[in-house]
């Protein structure tokens, strides 16, 4: 083989491997989705949404867990979003040249990838030990702590995309800085910030580890935020590992619902970004 042929052959091998790697990546996604649909679809029915989790062998659904997940995700988003938006605003608008901003950005990026089970431990020590019992409040706080870094990151990124001329124009009209930020900059960056919030919701909707020691689980339909509350991830965890076939079916049903919801959120968030990039 000549040198030229050898180089060509090496190139073909390398590029084929690259094709194969991409194929494997896509295959994993489709295999996961296919498994979820195949096992989850038989669980679908009105009982799944309206009945609470059954004892082994009983009939029931995962209504209480869906309710708990929705409530805790909503509370966590409502608490975490303002904190994240204000921190992101500081980094983008006031932090330039300050010594503290790079540190905050650095710490925020670490919190973004920190193991979520550590957050669960933290909230356990902070709230559960002090209150003496598991509670949906503690679960919501743990999830809110995960929301904050996601929102900080996207808010900062989106505010940086707003052209400086827009700020200057508003200030030249005599608007105070806070008004410039709230009614001009936020409005210009709204779609992007909304995307960040949606991604944060998608992130916490499936989080299990931080809920294990905070919200724990509840077999019954509980609306008491001050007590343990059922949630989808915990129910999936418990039911999937149980030996009962009907529990496993419910676990697959819950897994399918949660994944489809999260993927939808992600796709909508992405469409929003590409759409807003086009209009900016």
């Amino acid at each position: 083989m000549t040198l030229y042929q050898r180089r060509r052959a090496g190139n073909v091998v390398a590029l084929t491997l690259s094709w194969v790697a991409t194929g494997i990546g896509l295959l994993i996604l489709f295999l996961v989705l296919w498994t979820l649909l195949r096992n989850g679809l038989p669980a679908l029915g009105s009982d799944l949404f309206t009945k609470p989790t059954p004892p082994p062998g009983g009939r029931g659904g995962i209504g209480n867990a869906i309710y708990g997940s929705v409530v805790m995700t909503a509370v966590a988003t409502l608490v975490g979003t303002p904190v994240g938006v204000l921190t992101g605003t500081y980094l983008a608008e006031f932090g330039r040249g300050s010594r503290i901003a790079p540190v905050v950005r650095f710490v925020n990026d670490i919190l973004l990838s920190a193991p979520s089970i550590i957050i669960g431990l933290f909230v356990y020590e902070l709230m559960v030990v002090r209150m003496g019992h598991f509670s949906a409040w503690a679960g919501s706080v743990a999830l809110a702590i995960i929301v904050v870094p996601v929102v900080v990151r996207t808010t900062e990124d989106m505010l940086m995309l707003v052209p400086g001329s827009l700020r200057e124009a508003a200030i030249a009209l005599g608007a105070p800085q806070w008004k410039v930020i709230v009614s001009v900059i936020y409005r210009a960056a709204l779609q992007g910030m909304l995307t960040g919030v949606m991604l944060a919701v998608a992130r916490i909707a499936g989080e299990t580890a931080p809920l294990l020691f905070t919200a724990f689980n509840n077999q019954f339909w509980s609306t008491n935020m001050n007590g343990p509350m059922a949630n989808l991830p915990y129910v999936i965890f418990q039911f999937a590992l149980s030996p009962y076939a009907d529990w496993q079916v419910l676990a697959w049903g819950g897994a399918m619902l949660i994944t489809l919801a999260i993927l939808m959120l992600n796709i909508v968030a992405r469409l929003l970004t590409s759409w807003s990039n086009r209009t900016l």
């Binding site: 991409t22 990546g25 710490v107 806070w178």
Partner: protein, 321 residues
């Protein structure tokens, strides 16, 4: 008249300054809140872990005891499992992620780049617990019935390496956990790698093609040296994820506090131990030991993630120049 006007003007200016200052202070307070949050996590974990560290001292790190009845605990099996599963995850995840990044930057039709990139990124959106349930019911049986027997047969008789593939194919164990973790960190590494590949100036790439280099040569000799720091940063980011990943591992690791040379044997990781045992820990020392494990995990991931971040920052600064 003049005086009154100037007074109202000044007070108007003052209240505006106050409003601005209040807004700025509020945002700064929340920014400090992020720092306090990190500090709070460290303090809370350390406080919870104190009884265990006081009782066992440094010995906690190297002891392989895990005996809730006698209140004797050690972190070694969990640390060992965490490191081994993460190492397997890197072996699985890095080549795949690298191949995907090359595909997306060099081979893919331009109009397919976004859809395929998005699909790969969606892998990162799937929750950990879904990978767990999928790993338990789909991947583990496949590994148990086809891959593991083959590994035992082919690699088992070899010296040294053979010990890694000894014993019966359980299906659940370190290898399965590592493979699933590899799939999970793949999208993180792939998207960072793709992004840093795109920072290579087109001139460099085109000059290399111009002197007759093949695509693989351009990647090896131009793209990789230029982006090395960023690629390593992306890998470290993936490693940070793998070290702390909880639910997926909890499903497939087998939960055994033992150190076995064989990768096919069940083991445990720090996060899986916490997920499995924390709510069942009856004694105070048990709980404190679990907190100590959490503290160790936090320190390890903090170091890895900080290193990753610093590397990526260095690349950003160079790109800005």
């Amino acid at each position: 008249m003049d005086l009154a006007l100037s007074v109202t003007k000044r007070s108007g200016l003052n209240s505006r300054q106050i409003q601005d200052a209040a807004f700025r202070t509020a945002t700064r307070l929340f920014a400090f809140g992020v720092l306090i949050l990190l500090g709070g996590v460290v303090v809370a974990l350390a406080a919870g872990a104190r009884p265990a560290f006081e009782k066992f001292g440094w010995y906690f790190l190297v002891s392989d005891a895990w005996n809730p009845v006698k209140d004797n605990f050690g972190a070694l099996p969990a640390i060992y499992g965490t490191i081994v599963t993460s190492a397997i995850a890197m072996l699985v995840g890095i080549p795949l992620a690298f191949g995907i990044a090359v595909f997306l930057t060099e081979l893919c039709e331009p109009h397919l780049r976004r859809p395929i990139g998005t699909l790969i990124e969606l892998l990162a959106a799937i929750p950990s617990i879904i990978y767990g349930i999928w790993g338990l019911f789909v991947v583990a049986p496949v590994l148990q019935h086809t891959v593991q027997p083959a590994l035992i047969q082919i690699l088992g008789p070899l010296p040294i390496i053979g010990a890694l593939f000894a014993g019966p194919p359980f299906g659940l164990g370190m290898l399965t956990a590592g493979v699933i973790l590899g799939f999970m960190v793949l999208p993180f590494i792939a998207s960072v790698t793709r992004d840093v590949f795109l920072t290579v100036p087109p001139m460099l790439r085109e000059s290399a093609y111009g002197v007759g280099a093949t695509t693989s040569e351009v990647i090896r000799h131009i793209v990789l040296p230029y982006t090395r720091v960023g690629v390593i940063g992306g890998i470290m980011l993936g490693l940070g994820r793998a070290l702390g990943e909880t639910m997926a591992v909890t499903f497939v690791i087998g939960n055994a506090h033992r150190i076995k040379a064989s990768l096919l044997a069940p083991g445990t990781t720090i996060s899986a131990t916490l997920a499995n045992e924390f709510t069942e820990a009856v004694s105070d020392m048990y709980t404190a030991s679990l907190f100590a494990l959490g503290f160790i995990l936090f320190v390890i991931t903090f170091i890895v993630l900080a290193a990753a971040k610093l590397m990526l920052l260095r690349l950003d600064q160079r790109a800005a120049k």
